[in-house]
Structures are given as structure tokens and as C-alpha cells.
Symmetry: C2
């Protein structure tokens, strides 16, 4: 996706121009008493619809809108006026309840709502869990939009930057080759300790020697899939690959064999939710100034698992 | 796959008849000094080729051979005479070395050899890990055959039976609906303790209340995929589903939402390798009497991960 990075500037509309255009569209500029900018801005922006918020976001994404993407509305419609935005990894039942209690009605979630990548629901129509969740969304008038493909396409990748910031690795961002971070090197156990502390993870899974010094560090939060993960290993030969989730029969077995043949290639699996949640937190300061008076709140959906 | 179970008997060839047919095929019945059955059988069977062993196995599988299956040769050819058989979950570099050191040359593995479900290798041709493993197999003259679809189709499912036996749950096998085992019920933490002890697992991941009594217990070793796992949850509404591996955005999120809506549905994720390895161990007593003098040995490939 690096070839897209040079398009960023051309697709970015300066915020000031955009606000003027919103004001013109909703016809508020002529309302008496609104000539004062301080009073005007929150009122204008509190009238943004879901689709207008999405459009504000997409103006910052190179190549958007995409003809094919999983980043669609999963519930509700784009004409609804937004009362508040919650960003999270998964729009779980618990997150929907929290959103309603915050008086918000728009969830921007990184991952699927209905338990499959494409959020296909035909096979779930008579499913009680689907019905309960779908009813809860409708009852509370909450719209869910997935923000996955676009956020990863943003430069810098919003998820990656969120993780780097939480890890204290912001300055190691490598704009020419984002997955290979510009890290001076540390032991595998040092990286594990930093990831657990920075990302708030109780436990990770590793393949490799804890004492090994890792100089070439690759980082792909989430579950990019075995082919993408292994192709990165082929191309970059890192000392360690840090990911959110693997298929156990793909990347894990590749790294196990790479170790057995004598290389230093190792693997850290953080857990999917915790490996990308920082990206949805990083979205708040990015999005808040663009939507003025609409409150943007990050609510972590957290790792669903307990170790036992 | 239940609809296949009534075909078992029709496709089963009595062992005695089969041995006679092998002897006739390889023309050994007329060799002087072989009229003594004791001397004859090991000699005949030590001449079995890989394909002959596969054919012995397939005679026991309802509906075999399948027109489409991942159960193909991953290295070597079927004409090779077998010197010894190793059964395992993954034909890792380490397992290949162990096989060679045992003087065996045929690995029957449950899972892929080359890091993707279909064992496609075109994208790996210049990959050093693939090349090393492939060369190691060729240098040692070792054939690898995957035994996945067929073993799950056997009645009883060989993997499931291996797991039930290790768990001390053999008598709970439910031939009418294998995933819903006939268990009298126990707490979630009791099941976890039994699974860890029985299957030799250091740690599992759970979603649910450890103290909850689980009366309806569903067990699907391996990684059946979110759709299959969730469809079972829809249909059977078990108190607990025990699996090897999940996609974290599929089954885990479904169970998390089911809990949030107030149901008692819980999840235990054992780890893929450890959840099915018992099935490849159970293969030894099943296969050994069918191949006479050829030694069949189970070598566990184990969980590649360490917790950190």
C-alpha cells in the first residue's frame, strides 16, 4: 500500500475550507447570532450526519472511496444525525450498551460486528445472538460503521501508529517500509515486556529464544493472514515478527521450521483485539478536531479471553 | 458428515482377505519357504509401498477416495517401499529429522506441511525455509501424506476418539451426534483441568464463568472455522464449546455476545496442535495391525508456542 502514500496530500481538504462548506450546506451561516465563530462551530458540527462524518474521514484516506471494501455500515443509516461517536475494536453487546449510556449513537469499529469478515447476516437471521444484538442496535438507534481497510490505508497506518505510540516506539516509524520499524534492537523478552506494559496485555505467545537480541523488528498488528505474514518474513528476514493473530498452521509453523533450520527468526503473537485497539484510541485525537462539538470517545472492547 | 456413517460397513474389506490380495499382487505367495504364515506375513507387509498403505487406510473410510481432498502426498511418491511410519500433527523439520533417525520414511501428518491449507508451493519456490525442508525430505527419502479429511470422516472420527480417550471420556462418545458428547456435566474449570491433564496442555484460553456447571458439552478439536463452530452453537446451544483454534473475530466474539445477553454459553480454546495430536496417536493402534511388520510410531509435534 506504499504506492498510495504520495496521494495523501492531494486528497486532503484543509479543515477551514471544509467547515465553511458544511455551514453552507446546512444553511446555518445565515442564522442570526451565529456570526461569532466560537458559538457557530459547535452548533454547525453537532448537526453532522453519519455520512458526513464518514466523508470527513474519507477525505484523508488515499484512494478513497474504494470500490470494494468491508468498511460499510453494519447497522442503521447514513442520514442519522450524530449525537456522539465511540471508537472501538469490536462493537460488542457491551460496547453498544456503553455507547447508549454515553448518549452516543455512532460506533466506529475496526472489526466485524456479526462474526464474519464480510458481516454477512443471511445465515444468522434466526440466530438468537444476532437477533439480540441487532435489536439492541435498533432500539438504541445506534449506527455501526467498520473502519478497517481505510484506516490501514491512511498514511501513517492509523492502527500501526496507535501501537507504536503505546509501545513508546513512535520515533521508530519507518515511512518508507512501515512494517520494518527503525528500532535499535533489544532482546525478545525485552520486547515482550514492553508490549505487555504498553498495550496492557496480560500474556503473549512466543516462538523463539527469550534472550535473543532482535535487531530487525517487523510489526503487523491484527491478523493479516499467513500469506501476507510469511511473505514479509521471506522479504525482510526479520529477527522477530510481532503480530496480533495467526492461523496456527501457517505463520507459526513457518517460524518453527525457520528456527529448526538454525535462523534467528522469532514470533510474538499479541492477541488480535489488544494488538489493534490502540489504533482505535489513536483515532480520537485524529478525528475529534474534524467533527467539532461531537464528542469522540474511545471505549476499549478488550481481549475476550481469560487464560486458564 | 453423519450421512456417511451408514456406508462404513459396506466399504470395509476384511483384513484377512486384504492380506491375501496384497500377497497375490506382489507375487510373494509362490516364493519357497514362505508357506509358513508366521514367516510370510512380516515379509509381505514390509514390502508395502506408500500407496498400498494409503489404500489399506482408505478401505476403512466411508466414501473414499474423495474427488476433492487435501489428503495428498506432499513429498515423494507412492511407489516407495515403506521402511517405517511416523504419525504426527505437523511434519515439521524436527519431525522429519526424528523420522529419519527412526529409520522410517513415511510421515502421516494431520496438518499441512508447507504453511497453507492446500500446501500450494509455487509462492514458496525461492523461500529458504521451504527449500530447506523440501531438501531435507528428499535427502532422507521421506514421503509425507496428509491424513485429515479422511480421518475426520472415519466413524468414529479418529481425531475425536483420540481426544475422548485421552480425556477419559471415551464412554461419552455420541455416535448419533458426535460433537455433543454424552457427558453428565461438570464445571468449566473442571473441564479445563481435565483437558490440561489429559491432553498435556500447559494453558488454555476461556470465555465464561469458571464455576459454571456445563451439562451440554460440544467438542470439535482443530480449527473447523467460525461458520461451522457458530452453526453448532446455534443448533445445539451447548453450555460450553471446546475447540482447538478460533478466528478471534468469529467464534470468540459470538460467545462474548452470547454471554453479554445472559446465556451460559462458554468457550474453551485448547490450541490447535494439542487439540488434535491425540488423534494421530490413536492412529497407531488402529493402523499397526493393518500393516504387519512395518513399525508405526507416533511422534508428537507439540505446541510451537511458549507463553510469555
Amino acid at each position: 500500500m506504499n504506492e498510495l502514500s504520495d496521494k495523501i496530500n492531494s486528497s486532503t481538504v484543509p479543515r477551514r475550507e471544509f467547515l465553511a462548506s458544511v455551514a453552507a450546506t446546512v444553511g446555518l451561516a445565515s442564522i442570526p447570532g451565529l456570526s461569532n465563530a466560537k458559538a457557530f462551530m459547535p452548533l454547525t458540527q453537532s448537526k453532522l450526519t453519519v455520512q458526513q462524518v464518514i466523508d470527513i474521514i474519507l477525505k484523508e484516506i488515499p484512494g478513497a472511496p474504494f470500490p470494494k471494501t468491508v468498511d460499510t455500515l453494519k447497522s442503521g443509516n447514513g442520514q442519522q444525525v450524530v449525537t456522539g461517536i465511540v471508537t472501538t475494536m469490536f462493537a460488542t453487546v457491551e460496547i453498544i450498551r456503553r455507547t447508549a449510556s454515553l448518549g452516543a449513537n455512532f460506533i466506529i469499529a475496526h472489526e466485524p460486528t456479526f462474526y464474519n469478515h464480510l458481516d454477512e447476516t443471511s445465515w444468522l437471521e434466526s440466530d438468537p445472538v444476532f437477533q439480540f444484538k441487532n435489536d439492541l442496535l435498533k432500539k438504541n438507534g445506534i449506527v455501526v460503521w467498520r473502519f478497517h481497510d481505510y484506516w490501514h490505508t491512511h498514511r501513517p497506518d492509523g492502527v500501526l501508529m496507535g501501537v507504536l505510540e503505546k509501545m513508546g516506539w513512535k520515533n521508530f516509524y519507518n515511512k518508507d517500509n512501515p512494517p520494518m520499524i527503525n528500532h535499535p534492537g533489544m532482546t525478545l523478552e525485552g520486547i515482550v515486556a514492553q508490549a505487555k506494559k504498553g498495550l496492557g496485555i496480560r500474556q503473549v505467545r512466543i516462538i523463539g529464544d527469550r534472550k535473543q537480541v532482535c535487531k530487525r523488528i517487523a510489526l503487523i498488528p491484527g491478523a493479516a493472514g499467513g500469506t501476507a505474514q510469511i511473505k514479509l518474513l521471506q522479504k525482510e528476514k526479520p529477527d522477530v515478527l510481532i503480530v496480533g493473530e495467526v492461523h496456527e498452521w501457517e505463520t507459526a509453523e513457518y517460524v518453527r521450521d525457520a528456527q529448526a533450520m538454525g535462523t534467528s527468526m522469532s514470533l510474538i503473537v499479541l492477541g488480535h483485539a489488544e494488538s489493534e485497539e490502540p489504533g482505535m484510541e489513536w483515532l480520537v485525537p485524529w478525528l475529534q478536531p474534524k467533527v467539532g462539538g461531537i464528542k469522540v470517545t474511545h471505549v476499549a472492547s478488550h481481549n475476550p479471553f481469560m487464560e486458564a
